[in-house]
């Protein structure tokens, strides 16, 4: 029997076991929406802005091991989705975005709601397709899912012209897929892995630096085994949080611009660095030349060869899936008799502990007068048992969340690390809640960021998503204000958030619960009450200290040891 392109698309999504599609309808996708209507296997979540559809699909994917799916119309639907796509690309989220396109005959004529979707998204997708023939839909969707989730994951866009979604052909979903020009890495090179084992065993000042690749590859267990077997200190990047348990004594905290003193110092002064699924980006190692001043051997495990030796010279590259490589490395280490040099390790740990003490750890001066944002996160951790899914927006609140919510499990920390997209938190939380019904999901945000996708409160109402919004309302675009304080002579150019709405009333207007918390003593009770409301979305508007800064801080372009610690407390 012949099916239309739209029917075929929906059948493909069913074959891929897609449970939810996040989307927004329009002219170019009318046939597709019509087919969605006629079935109930693939459920549709109607967002209020296409950017939110993509962020929701992103949160969905990051907090599970599934591919997120978003569906948008042509023209403005697609352009609204671009920020979401770029966000997913920078953080390597497996995702398929389907966009409508004007009919094939109209392409290139500046038709109504026409944009060159493939052209616009090209630099921020893993791959994209324009489907010109209905006969190609099934194979293209198969390829899109395959590309999205294999190798280094990423978003794949499939652009489908309206007429193609209405043409008919026979449907057969391909059982398998091979792309002759695409060969994602699998196992690492065994000889390199043996060399790496030897290099690790001979280290005097070793360090493990683990990034988002550990989470994406579901290799947290292997990483923990490795660090414990060798008794090596381990740090996580922002994207890697939860990839190693924060409560483990081997954990030295996050590194980078707002990382701990001990993590940054150990990173700078180690003699053997094992980089796992991380990419030495500018927010992590700061100034490359400064980093290179201390000689060290670097072993770099990554599935994407282009991540290796991009910013720093690598002595021992291992291209492969992090989990498979770590498994093999563990096998080699367990099979041998050698263990790390105990005396050297003792001295190194003493040094690390000295740094831990000198840095004063993560600290802030609490107050009984004014709410300190760090205190809210600490209490949040306590009340949720450290077991919530946490999404964030971008700014100071994001960094405090990263520092103080001490993640023990992977896929619980959902943040826009690479692109740093304000407006990510709430829609991402929707996706997280959809794929983890019943789980505790909190969105930590600022009064600036939340307003970038506030309309999604409506989606949350429609789909009964009991997300807890923890807004750290400091009245400023805080992170920008902090840079203005440090580097621009306290000239707070356009960072005061004037004319803020009454967030309590706003939440209520959308049918949710809103509370304002102004005193430190009210923080704990308010959090307890909010999290006890299992079925409600609660918007908590915490009025926090407007002058608080994020410490420690490695100023942009500086070296890791040029770190600024908290003011004398």
């Amino acid at each position: 029997m012949e099916l239309t392109g739209a029917e075929i698309l929906i059948r493909c999504l069913q074959e891929e076991q897609v449970e939810y599609v996040f989307g927004y309808p329009g002219g170019a996708v009318l046939f597709i929406y019509d087919e969605l209507f006629k079935q109930d296997k693939v459920k549709h979540v109607l967002v209020r802005h296409e950017q939110a559809a993509v962020h929701a699909a992103d949160g969905y994917a990051r907090s599970s091991d599934k591919v997120g799916v978003a569906l948008v119309t042509s023209g403005p639907g697609l352009t609204n989705a671009v920020t979401g796509i770029a966000t997913a690309y920078m953080d390597s989220t497996p995702m398929v975005v389907i966009s409508g396109q004007v009919p094939t005959g109209a392409i290139g004529e500046d038709a109504f709601q026409e944009v060159d979707a493939v052209g616009i998204t090209r630099p921020c997708v893993k791959h994209n397709f324009l489907v010109k023939d209905v006969k190609d839909i099934a194979a293209t969707i198969k390829k899109a899912f395959y590309l999205a989730k294999t190798g280094r994951p990423g978003p794949v866009l499939v652009d489908i012209p309206k007429d193609v979604s209405n043409h008919k052909t026979n449907f057969e979903y391909p059982a398998s897929v091979t792309i002759r020009s695409y060969h994602p890495a699998g196992k690492g090179d065994s000889a390199q892995i043996r060399r790496a084992a030897q290099m690790l065993l001979e280290a005097k000042r070793p360090m493990i630096y683990a990034g988002g690749g550990v989470v994406l590859s579901d290799a947290a267990a292997q990483l923990a085994d490795l660090a414990r077997l060798l008794n090596f200190p381990c740090t996580n990047t922002l994207m890697g949080l939860g990839g190693f348990p924060a409560s483990d004594r081997l954990f030295v905290g996050m590194l980078g611009m707002h990382g701990t003193y001990e993590a940054n110092m150990a990173m700078q002064h180690c003699d053997v660095l094992l980089a796992v699924g991380a990419r030495f980006d500018d927010r992590v190692i700061g100034n490359v030349a400064h980093f290179a001043e201390v000689p060290r051997n670097i072993i770099h495990i990554d599935i994407d060869p282009s991540s290796i030796a991009k910013r720093v010279k690598v002595d021992l590259p291992i291209v492969g899936d992090v989990k498979l490589v770590l498994d093999e490395l563990l096998g080699v280490l367990r099979g041998g008799k050698q263990t790390p040099d105990a005396a050297a390790m003792g001295a190194w740990w003493k040094q690390v502990e000295d740094w831990r003490a000198a840095g004063g750890g993560l600290c802030y001066k609490n107050s009984t007068e004014i709410i300190k944002p760090q205190y809210v996160i600490e209490k949040l951790h306590e009340i949720t048992g450290g077991d919530a899914f946490i999404t964030t927006d971008v700014g100071q609140h994001q960094m405090w969340a990263a520092q103080y919510y001490r993640f023990d499990k992977p896929r619980r920390w959902i943040t826009s690390g690479g692109l740093g997209t304000m407006g990510f938190g709430l829609p991402a939380a929707m996706g997280v809640q959809m794929v983890n019904p019943g789980a505790t999901v909190a969105c930590i945000t600022g009064e600036g960021s939340i307003q970038m996708n506030i309309q999604e409160l409506s989606t949350c109402k429609q789909f009964h998503l009991p997300i807890k919004i923890v807004a750290l309302n400091n009245g400023y675009l805080g992170m920008v204000r902090q840079w203005q304080e440090f580097f621009h002579g306290n000239r707070y150019s356009e960072t005061y958030m004037n004319a803020l709405p009454d967030f309590v009333k706003l939440a209520e207007a959308y049918g949710h619960v809103g509370v304002r918390i102004e005193k430190p003593a009210d923080v704990e009770p308010a959090l307890k009450e909010a999290f006890a409301r299992k079925d409600d979305l609660v918007f908590m508007d915490f009025r926090t200290d407007p002058t608080e800064n994020v410490y420690p801080m490695v100023p942009g372009g500086r070296g890791l040891s040029e770190i600024i610690l908290a003011e004398e407390l």
């Binding site: 052209g119 590309l147 002759r180 060869p305 030796a309």
Partner: protein, 163 residues
């Protein structure tokens, strides 16, 4: 250092823009780029002449390889290779210069493929450097128009880039 990178890619709409976009987005140099289908019509062969430090060239190769449409890639300048570029050049050929131009063209194995009372159009194939030399010899004053294809490269002897 100058490098000549050769690649096989899917002959699909948009494939060229992926390569061109990669170079501009990442700020890589591109001296010339030439592309055409191969004996297998589903594949295009592309030759890119670029320059950069070893680290940059390594990244260029990796980034190109990462493009899903790129099926195979080789840095020809890492081994023995042949490099040819085609040039068409239109020159003012009047009076005594006509003889001299004919001589220069013959010496460089150029062919005069179109002649008018005032003009020669010369076809010349060679390495990029040879073409540069030829233009130098003729001198800017006489040159009315030049068209160059950019280099095409192929490995020497047994060195083959094939799927």
């Amino acid at each position: 250092m100058r490098h000549i990178i050769s690649l096989l890619m899917e002959n699909e709409a948009g494939a060229l823009s992926r390569v061109a976009g990669l170079f501009s987005a990442r700020g890589y140099n591109i001296e010339s780029l030439s592309v055409a289908p191969t004996e297998d019509p589903t594949l295009s062969r592309m030759t890119i002449v670029t320059s950069g430090s070893d680290a940059v060239i390594e990244q260029i190769s990796k980034q190109l390889n990462k493009l899903v449409d790129v099926a195979a890639l080789i840095d020809l300048s890492e081994g023995e290779h042949l490099e040819r570029e085609l040039m068409l050049v239109k020159v003012r050929a009047e009076g005594a210069a006509r003889e001299e131009l004919k001589r220069v063209a013959d010496n460089s194995h150029g062919r005069i493929i179109d002649v008018t009372e005032h003009i020669y159009t010369i076809e010349l194939t060679g390495s990029c450097a040879e073409l540069d030399d030829f233009l130098e010899k003729i001198g800017r004053d006489l040159i009315l128009e030049t068209v160059r294809t950019g280099a095409s490269g192929i490995g020497r002897g047994e060195r083959i880039l094939k799927l």
